[in-house]
């Protein structure tokens, strides 16, 4: 097999922190090559470099033996590199047809509608979107269908290398099967495919070769036939992490604070049931699209279609109503602190007290002194330096921003359940430990703490009870006896594991 695409000595760091180090591998014509690794292993950085979105600091990329300069997406496309990005990258305001042709350098300057529609029809049929009219606005399609349109776009371009970054995270099994068939067809035509996924069974089934990354380095490149899910997990994790901290055993005196019964979110989460005690930390383990964060969002009232019954301290929690959920004592810390959390241009103090304004004044007038005292005590409680109270949140590190976000929910009599989605995303090690301590102390103070995460170390370190999810369904529940390999298997392999 000749090398279609080769990388040699590729390296890239962000703000001095290396994300990819000295990476070399090749993808042959017609080969489906998987890139696997735990979160933060550097997969996305490799994808970004190969697709022309960021330049490497060092190293060479070659396409068909020729050295390639990938300065922009367009430059990469000229060399025949098509991409399905991790984030959905189609434009809702355009029609399906326009989206399929968008950015295609082979598309003629003047649209030839009849030819374009015929080609679009064929491309849609091939990926299983027979019922979709090319002239429909993309905004009328479901998220899964939009993802299929993006995949169809990449596969329909005359590419030499197609990169697919987590293409099936939001797809159903039936839809995924259609995507796999389409990928196999493209590979059979001699195109190289680089496939990034967390779903290991899928990887082993689809791919010819698997390269595993850990901490930005290549650990191994192995033919898929020689691997099992178990050996693959071993490669990804190295020595599998075990529990580090002693976790809190169940306390029969505490009773059940949070009772979630048959929680259902159409297309995202099926029949989730959990009974949680105050004072313990519950971890929901699952990759993107597993439903883990949907549990939290539904409890916080942010899923307009959620159904089921939830009780918090024996009072029914209103679903589909964010204000009602907050009134009932739910505090939610989103994984997107920039757009769903903090007021970035306001000061730390302002942010800390933003959710408790009614308690700081009388008749709607805020008392400056009381506000200041509240901010100070919260800062102390959440481990923020007092002299930073007047700095805009924007100037803080990711870890400190997250402390502000969590700190805002602490020390309130009216909060009974603390929900956190990826509590330490984008936070350095020191900040992480501080936030973990913060959550532990919140639990000790009698709150139910429920968090969703994709990071094994965090799940094992913090979760007293760990519930694993995949494809919207609960896979396993571990009360004090879990190890990394089991969790990883549940999260990536699901209930049908063999």
């Amino acid at each position: 097999m000749t090398a279609r695409v080769g990388v040699e000595g590729l390296a890239r760091s962000f703000a001095g922190v290396p994300a990819v180090r000295d990476l070399s591998f090749t993808v042959g014509a017609g080969e489906i090559h998987a890139l696997c690794g735990h979160n933060g292993a550097g997969k996305s950085t490799v994808v970004k470099m190969l697709s022309g979105q960021i330049p490497p600091d060092q190293g060479r990329i070659s396409v068909d033996g020729e050295p390639a300069e990938l300065r922009s997406r367009r430059a990469a496309q000229r060399l025949g590199i098509a991409l399905v990005d991790q984030e959905l990258s189609v434009v809702p305001a355009l029609t399906v047809l326009d989206n399929l042709l968008l950015g295609d350098i082979d598309a003629p300057m003047l649209n030839r509608r009849r030819a374009a529609v015929a080609r679009c029809r064929a491309v849609l049929d091939e990926i299983g979107l027979e019922r979709i009219d090319p002239d429909r606005p993309l905004s009328s399609l479901s998220i899964g269908e939009r993802q299929l349109v993006e995949i169809a776009r990449a596969l329909s371009q005359k590419a030499r290398l197609v990169i697919l970054d987590e293409p099936t995270a939001t797809l159903s099994d039936v839809e995924s099967d259609l995507v796999f068939a389409a990928i196999r067809r493209v590979a059979a035509r001699g195109c190289a495919v680089l496939y990034v996924s967390h779903r290991l069974a899928e990887v082993l089934d689809l791919c010819d070769t698997v390269t595993v990354l850990r901490d930005g380095r290549r650990i191994a490149t192995t033919p898929a036939g020689e691997l099992t899910v178990g050996t693959l997990i071993e490669q990804m994790l190295g020595e599998a992490p075990h529990r580090l901290a002693a976790t809190r055993p169940p306390d029969p005196d505490l009773g059940h604070a949070l009772r979630i019964d048959h929680l259902h979110v159409p297309g995202r989460l099926a029949d989730f049931t959990l009974t949680a005690q105050a004072g313990r930390i519950y971890a929901l383990a699952g990759q993107l699209g597993s439903g883990a964060s949907d549990v939290l969002r539904a409890l916080a009232g942010l899923h307009p279609q959620a159904t089921g019954s939830v009780e918090l301290h024996d009072r029914a929690l209103p679903l589909r109503n964010p204000v009602g959920a907050a009134r009932a004592g739910v505090a939610f810390v989103s994984n997107d602190r920039k757009s769903e959390g903090l007021f970035l241009d306001k000061t730390v103090a302002w942010n800390l007290v933003a959710t408790r304004l009614p308690s700081l004044g009388r008749a709607g007038v805020i008392r400056a002194g009381r506000e200041r005292r509240a901010a100070r005590s919260l800062a102390e409680r959440s481990g923020l330096a007092e002299h930073r109270l007047d700095d805009p949140v924007l100037t803080l590190s990711g870890g400190n921003q997250q402390k502000v976000f969590v700190g805002r929910c602490l020390g309130r009599d009216d909060v009974h359940a603390l929900l956190l989605d990826e509590p330490t995303r984008g936070v350095d090690i020191g900040g992480r430990a501080a936030i973990h301590r913060l959550l532990r102390s919140a639990a000790d103070a009698g709150l139910v703490v429920l968090f969703a995460s994709t990071e094994l170390e965090e799940l094992l370190e913090l979760g007293d009870v760990i519930v694993t999810l995949r494809d919207g369904r609960t896979v396993g529940r571990y009360d004090g006896d879990a190890d990394g390999a089991t969790l990883m298997r549940d999260m990536t392999h699901g209930v049908n594991a063999t």
């Binding site: 997406r73 809702p92 305001a93 950015g103 350098i105 003047l110 649209n111």
Partner: protein, 325 residues
């Protein structure tokens, strides 16, 4: 088919607004007692020519998710430049005006795309600066244009109801419709308005397209200003805010979304025609001036797309039980 048409606000809105205004125009003899003449239609189209290029310049930037406030400044400057440099050769005057408009547009586009500055402050600053510059050029006074041949030519009647000015404006709309609807560039422009990140990932050269867009917007506005000053035989250094407001009304009636990514040049054309026709109705009916403003406001409120209202109607419909046949 009709359902599909009405489900796209960028088509429904301009159709509805133009239909309403055309009906009102046709019915205006009831108010005035005089029958409609071809001259009324000609006049309405002259009004369209006055506003059209400006509305198009603004509208195309809105489709791409930007907002070019500077169009009125370029419009004023273009008029002034054309009058000052085109005394012996009107074509040269137009050329100078359009070249200046393109230069200004390219500079703004470069700032907005390369430095990632939002378009509002950049174009607002340019608008103010250009008004200042135009006033400085003319000493703050209107500047008359003595070439009466050119003045007569731009407004002479062609095919009963048109003039070269309104035909040029129409041609610009048709060209824009062709580019936006039928070319790769048009698709990319709409994509940029819809989702810039996704467009970039898909391989659209966003920065370059934005620079080109503002260049075209500047050219259109300057051309509009030049033609207007030839028609009036004078250039006004301060056209006021009215043209900008009317252009925005035309764009909104034309189904262009403020959020970007939505809108069609033919919709813009309908929106602009609605605004021009409405002004003509008020004139022929000899209604007081303020009625024009009230009518614009009513039309805008009546025709604007309200997703919240549509959702509410959808919910009501869903509540009504479906009878099985």
């Amino acid at each position: 088919m009709i359902r599909r048409w009405t489900s796209r606000p960028e088509r429904l809105l301009p159709t509805v607004s133009l239909l309403a205004v055309v009906l009102a125009f046709a019915g205006s003899p009831v108010l005035t007692g005089d029958a409609l003449t071809t001259f009324d239609v000609y006049n309405a189209l002259q009004g369209f020519a006055q506003l059209g290029l400006l509305a198009l310049a603004l509208g195309i930037t809105m489709i791409a998710g930007e907002f070019d406030l500077s169009v009125v400044g370029t419009y004023a400057l273009g008029g002034m430049l054309a009058v000052q440099t085109g005394q012996s050769s009107p074509a040269l005057g137009v050329l100078v005006a359009v070249a200046a408009g393109m230069l200004i547009g390219a500079a703004q586009g470069g700032l907005i795309a390369r430095l990632r500055i939002p378009s509002l402050p950049v174009t607002l600053a340019t608008y103010i600066a250009l008004l200042g510059l135009t006033s400085a050029m003319s000493g703050g006074l209107s500047k008359s244009y003595p070439n009466s041949d050119a003045t007569l030519w731009v407004d002479r009647t062609v095919a009963v109801v048109f003039s070269p000015r309104s035909l040029i404006t129409l041609a610009a709309f048709l060209l824009a419709a062709l580019v936006l609807g039928r070319t790769r560039l048009g698709r990319e422009l709409r994509a940029i308005g819809g989702d810039r990140r996704a467009s970039r990932v898909a391989g659209v050269r966003v920065d370059r397209t934005v620079v080109g867009l503002f260049t075209v917007s500047g050219a259109l506005a300057a051309l509009g200003g030049a033609l207007l000053s030839y028609s009036y035989a004078s250039a006004n250094p301060d056209p006021g805010l009215q043209p900008l407001i009317l252009a925005a009304v035309a764009a909104l009636l034309g189904g262009v979304s403020l959020a970007g990514g939505r809108g069609l040049p033919l919709g813009l054309l309908c929106g602009t025609l609605s605004v021009a026709l409405l002004a003509q109705i008020v004139t022929t009916a000899a209604l007081p001036d303020y009625t024009t403003q009230l009518l614009y406001a009513a039309l805008l409120l009546g025709a604007i797309d309200a997703p919240g209202l549509r959702a509410a109607i959808g919910r009501l419909r869903a509540r009504v039980p479906v009878r099985s046949s």
